[in-house]
């Protein structure tokens, strides 16, 4: 009875649970910090469980629709509305479910980690509130089927992220990063809002499926497309607009940086959703596809080359995050470029998209892990400066193991998960255009080179006199990192299972606009 209730209402519960916990967390902090820790951890565990439950349900039974305020939660179209969905709804298709899985796993690992790593700071009540609201924002963004609701969640996410980036204040430098992030993301959100206004003015619709059904691709729609694509590409850190990324990533607390990676992936999801679901074949797929490919290649090359000379370990990893985002844009961009050509699509288009989407989940896991190890090092020695580090492998053995796992995965060394998704991208992109594939491989080599440098300068060498009393980080932080490391290894050893069960349905759901429209307008699967 209670399980069926939870499964039935899981789309609403997964947003409401962290939201209520966000309200309660600062109040209980006044009673006892331990109570707050249990509430935050428990709420995050419940949210993750609900999210995973919803995702497994979606993978088993197809797209889930949840309409807010209707007589029945699955009643997408009011009987007398003439066949249009009028209420806000969540549309959780396999692509959304994939993002939900990523968010759930990472957020749970991060909350375990941050319960210890941030314990010495003031303002923890607000910290957890914003943390939970950020998770709410991501979850809502990836599951909503209403475009104005998407904007609302985007704003929740960016306001919460901005507050958290500035959390440490640190003589103003963290606030500086937050200002840069927030001004840009507000601009982007306003551009998205103008695009929403344009859709509304033309089609009198806010539901994505309805807009997609009525899409004409007029000049105004082209303008809206440009506004949305540019804004969301900026928010995911694609290269000519990536400047905020290293600033914000390096100045946020490490646990937040790990979550910011998922936030960027959520923006990327929004970009793919707009291109594939709102427009799909009505747009000139080759043109937009090549735009994404060019953005992707630029991101890969500039990201990795800028990472090599960095001295701040988190800035370096942030540039690598940009570079890895390039792989996703490349993979999915190739899929988009051949959209509408069924023979190309089945020859290599789907594999490229699967590679790109598989890379999203892999990147969130290993990049989250790497940022958490960087945070663990900072927790003990109080600096991010690579020039001042050395010899920590003698005392922080587990952190070193986790760092090696993350670094090998990001560099695409078999048998870790980064290799599997990169291999899919290389081979499918090679069939599309060999030069792009070669660039992707060279970037991967440079990534390895850069992480060899980081590994050498943090962990290798003799024990430095200033760090001879350094101990391993506390166990909750190790558990948080361990969860992610286990996921990285498991995905690396069994990539085919992950691709077949999680990624391939997501790629097909993303590419198949007709199915999406039929599910919503057709009144539920």
């Amino acid at each position: 009875m209670i399980t069926s209730f939870i499964v039935e209402n899981s789309p609403a519960l997964m947003v409401i649970v962290p939201f209520i916990a966000a309200f309660v967390a600062p109040l209980t902090g006044r009673v006892a910090p331990a109570v707050r820790a249990w509430i935050v951890g428990g709420a995050m565990a419940i949210t993750s469980a609900i999210t995973l439950l919803l995702a497994s349900d979606v993978y088993a039974h197809g797209t889930r629709l949840y309409v807010f305020g209707a007589q029945a939660a699955t009643q997408t179209i009011a009987p007398d509305s003439g066949g249009i969905p009028v209420r806000i709804m969540f549309t959780v298709d396999p692509m959304s479910a994939l993002m939900l899985v990523i968010t759930a796993v990472l957020a749970f690992a991060v909350v375990l980690y941050s319960l210890t790593s941030e314990r010495d700071h003031t303002g923890l009540g607000s910290y957890y509130t914003l943390f939970l609201l950020m998770v709410t924002g991501i979850l809502g963004m990836v599951s909503t089927g209403d475009i104005f609701n998407f904007f609302v969640f985007l704003e929740i996410l960016s306001i919460a992220s901005a507050g958290l980036i500035a959390f440490r204040i640190d003589g103003g430098i963290a606030v500086e990063a937050a200002i840069k992030y927030f001004v840009l993301s507000t601009l982007g959100a306003l551009a998205v809002l103008i695009a929403i206004g344009i859709y509304y003015g033309q089609y009198n619709a806010l539901n994505m499926a309805l807009i997609a059904q009525r899409m004409q691709y007029t000049l105004l729609d082209q303008v809206a497309l440009v506004l949305i694509v540019a804004a969301l590409a900026m928010k995911c850190g694609a290269v000519p607009m990536h400047f905020w990324t290293p600033d914000a990533y390096s100045m946020a607390p490490s646990s937040i940086t790990a979550l910011l990676v998922v936030a960027s992936q959520a923006s990327l999801y929004g970009l793919f959703r707009a291109v594939f679901t709102l427009y799909n074949v009505t747009l000139n797929a080759a043109c937009i596809g090549w735009l994404l490919i060019v953005l992707g290649v630029l991101s890969m090359v500039v990201g990795v080359t800028m990472a090599i000379p960095q001295k701040n370990v988190k800035r370096l990893m942030a540039y690598h995050a940009i570079s890895q985002t390039g792989y996703m844009l490349l993979g999915v961009g190739v899929g988009l470029a051949v959209l509408g050509n069924q023979s190309f699509l089945s020859a290599f288009g789907y594999v490229a998209m699967e590679g790109g989407i598989f890379h999203i989940i892999n990147h969130a896991m290993y990049k989250g892990l790497l940022f958490l190890t960087a945070g663990a090092i900072f927790f003990r020695i109080g600096t991010y400066d690579l020039n001042r580090m050395g010899g920590l492998g003698h005392s922080m053995k587990w952190t070193m193991v986790f760092f090696i796992i993350g670094a090998l995965a990001i560099a695409g060394i078999p048998p870790f998960n980064g290799y599997a998704s990169k291999l899919m991208i290389y081979e499918s992109v090679f069939a599309f255009n060999p030069i792009l594939s070669v660039i992707a491989m060279v970037v991967s080599i440079l990534t390895l080179a850069s992480f060899v440098k980081v590994f050498h300068s943090i962990f290798m060498g003799p024990v430095l006199p200033e760090y001879k009393d350094v101990k391993e980080v506390p166990r909750p932080m190790l558990i948080g990192m361990g969860i992610l490391a286990l996921v990285v290894i498991a995905f690396g050893l069994f990539p085919s299972i992950v691709v077949d069960t999680l990624v391939a349905p997501a790629a097909h759901a993303l590419a198949d606009q007709g199915m999406y429209i039929a599910t919503v307008i057709g009144g539920g699967a």
């Binding site: 939201f19 966000a22 309200f23 600062p26 807010f68 305020g69 009011a78 007398d80 509305s81 003439g82 249009i84 009028v86 209420r87 806000i88 010495d120 700071h121 003031t122 303002g123 607000s126 910290y127 509130t129 914003l130 609201l133 709410t136 104005f148 609701n149 609302v152 969640f153 929740i156 306001i159 919460a160 901005a162 507050g163 500035a166 959390f167 440490r168 204040i169 640190d170 003589g171 430098i173 606030v175 344009i198 003015g201 033309q202 089609y203 009198n204 619709a205 806010l206 009525r214 007029t218 000049l219 105004l220 303008v223 440009v226 506004l227 701040n312 109080g382 600096t383 991010y384 400066d385």
Partner: protein, 94 residues
Amino acid sequence: MKRVLVAAIFLVWAAMLCTIPLFLSFGDPAATDMDTYFIGRGQADAAANNIVTSVVFDFRGFDTLGESVVLFTAVTGVALMVREKRKGEEHEDE
């Protein structure tokens, strides 16, 4: 050089935005079916004479919840910025 580029960017943006007054006509929306439904059903479904109220609190009530969450988030963020910090909590990296 930079000034020319900035001017060019602004010109393109102006052109981009000018498509709105060129292709949308004020006072004559292209399609009205969703709002016709709201106007027709607002009184019966949401029991409000003011249709905007019924849209804000019933048909799109979830957005209103989101809006209050945004407000709450911003207030929390402001509280975080003006908090009293412990001595030695801040450090200057780099």
